[in-house]
Amino acid sequence: MTTLELAGLTKRYRVRGAGHMLALDDVDLSITSGRTVALVGQSGSGKSTIARIITQLERETSGQVLLDGVPIPRRGKALRSYRQQVRMVFQDPFASLNPYHTVHHHIARPLLLDRVVPRDQVDAEVARLLDRVRLDPELASRRPHELSGGQRQRIAIARALASRPALLVADEPVSMLDVSIRLGVLNLLAELQEADGLGVLYITHDLATARHFSDEIVVLHHGRVVERGPADDVILTPQHEYTRALRDASPDPERHFGGGREPETTGSRS
């Protein structure tokens, strides 16, 4: 059981000629193994800043990030071991893979760096990881440009899983993918999470997937948490007016047509 806790997290960016911009204001949040927390809010609400601080691509101004009660180490082996436990899947699968390297290289690198398996088992482990994300292990020799967006995102997920993390931060993992494959990738994430008991922070602006993909939803507005609770409650009976505004602005044919969709449309899955 691993718990990542954000306590009183605050981030101020200096803005040239305009003092400071408060990107995060006293945010408390916790992610535990086996649970998915969705972080929703419009652009500029601070969602990605949270992801960047958790993965230490950015430093907090004040407050703390604690992994099982221990603050994030600032350097050295301890930081590396923290990063081995907390992995990230980025939004843009076209930018997050290096065009010069093969799929094998991308997945083998964390295996070697974190010494997950002995060197002579790396190839087998790469194949196993590809298989876990439902890709043909034959793809290992390909380069990113030979793959579709969905395949690339699966590789990014395999790479994130390679070091056997306890927690995964997924920052808009499907927003750049074609609609018909989004569900497949989200379902894959849900399934891997279940199998590995992963804790997932799912960052998104899409309320519908947030509701169905997570246990808990945290609503961020101007860097502050304005509402949090069980996923269905936050969407179906929002308490804060900002959450209501977000919900009402999201397209919802169900509400628009007053229900009545034929049940036969469910269950057809690719």
């Binding site: 509701r211 169905h212 047509f257 057809s268």
Partner: protein, 281 residues
């Protein structure tokens, strides 16, 4: 469906003449009625943008129209086939009768010209007789109309937010009061609150000015809310056309069903979504 048609597309095909040739649009037939919002849904690569470009003869080689016709029904009752119209005629007609809000419109403004100058361009080109003072006044009124405000005439694109730039693009497209507005993913890059504001703006303007809209997007839930009818495209073909409510309640084509199933419902049931490691394929 007794609206007078504004545009009828019949048997339209577009091929990218590369090796091997790609048939991006195959035998597409559609009509857009007066004051109607026709939604065009489909995924990337299905040919929806190519179709929009073809309708306005904006395709560049290697793309070319290989068959079919695009008929614009004039107010006076005379019909014009746009596919065979001389280029000069087409130039005159474009923007005047059919205008377009392009995909990524936010980035299609010229960064070194003020938005006022860019709006004025439309009038210098299409209404050369218009005097400068009147032009400035009209441009100001257009910015007011889309909720940006005439005081932004001298602003440069980088000084405006994404939503405001999108509104400027809409103002520009509506400048000459076209009869048909084609919008290609006009709100995809905006977040939901801004998207909703802009959609409300478009529907208000449509009631006010009475133009028809072809709205192109992959976002089917959005399309279901704003369209009168929806055409679903796949691999260059229109696989199904139906009134929005019918398409939602009784989709006929397998692909439409799959597309509908790709969007988990906000307040309804789970659909194809598994939360806790259910069986997935």
């Amino acid at each position: 469906m007794n609206r007078d048609p504004v545009l009828s597309v019949s048997g339209l095909s577009v091929t990218y003449d590369v090796d091997p040739p790609v048939e991006a649009v195959r035998d597409v037939s559609l009509t857009v009625g007066q004051g109607e919002v026709l939604g065009l849904a489909g995924e990337s690569g299905c040919g929806k943008s190519t179709l929009a470009y073809a309708v306005q003869r904006l395709l560049r080689p290697p793309a070319e129209i290989t068959g079919g016709e695009v008929v614009l029904h004039d107010v006076g009752g005379s019909d014009v086939d746009l596919t065979v119209l001389p280029a000069a005629e087409m130039d005159r007609l474009r923007w005047d009768q059919i205008a377009m809000v392009f995909q990524g419109a936010m980035n299609s403004l010229n960064p070194v010209l003020s938005v006022g100058d860019q709006l004025a361009d439309v009038f210098t080109r299409h209404r050369p007789a218009m005097r400068r003072a009147e032009r400035t006044e009209t441009c100001g009124a257009l910015l007011e109309m889309v909720g940006v405000g005439a005081n932004r005439l001298r602003s440069y694109p980088h000084e405006l937010s994404g939503g405001m730039r999108q509104r400027v693009m809409i103002a520009m497209a509506l400048a000459l009061r076209p009869r048909l507005l084609i919008m290609d993913e006009p709100t995809t890059a905006l977040d939901v609150l801004v998207q909703r504001e802009i959609l409300q703006e478009i529907s208000r303007l449509r009631e006010e000015l009475g133009f028809s809209v072809v709205f192109i997007t992959h976002d089917l839930p959005l399309l279901l809310e704003i369209s009168d009818r929806i055409a679903v495209m796949r691999a260059g073909r229109v696989v199904e056309t139906a009134p929005a409510a019918d398409l939602y309640r009784h989709p006929q084509h397998e692909y439409t069903k799959r597309l509908l199933g790709s969007f988990p419902s906000l307040t309804g049931e789970r659909g194809d979504f598994v939360r806790k490691g259910g069986v997935t394929v």
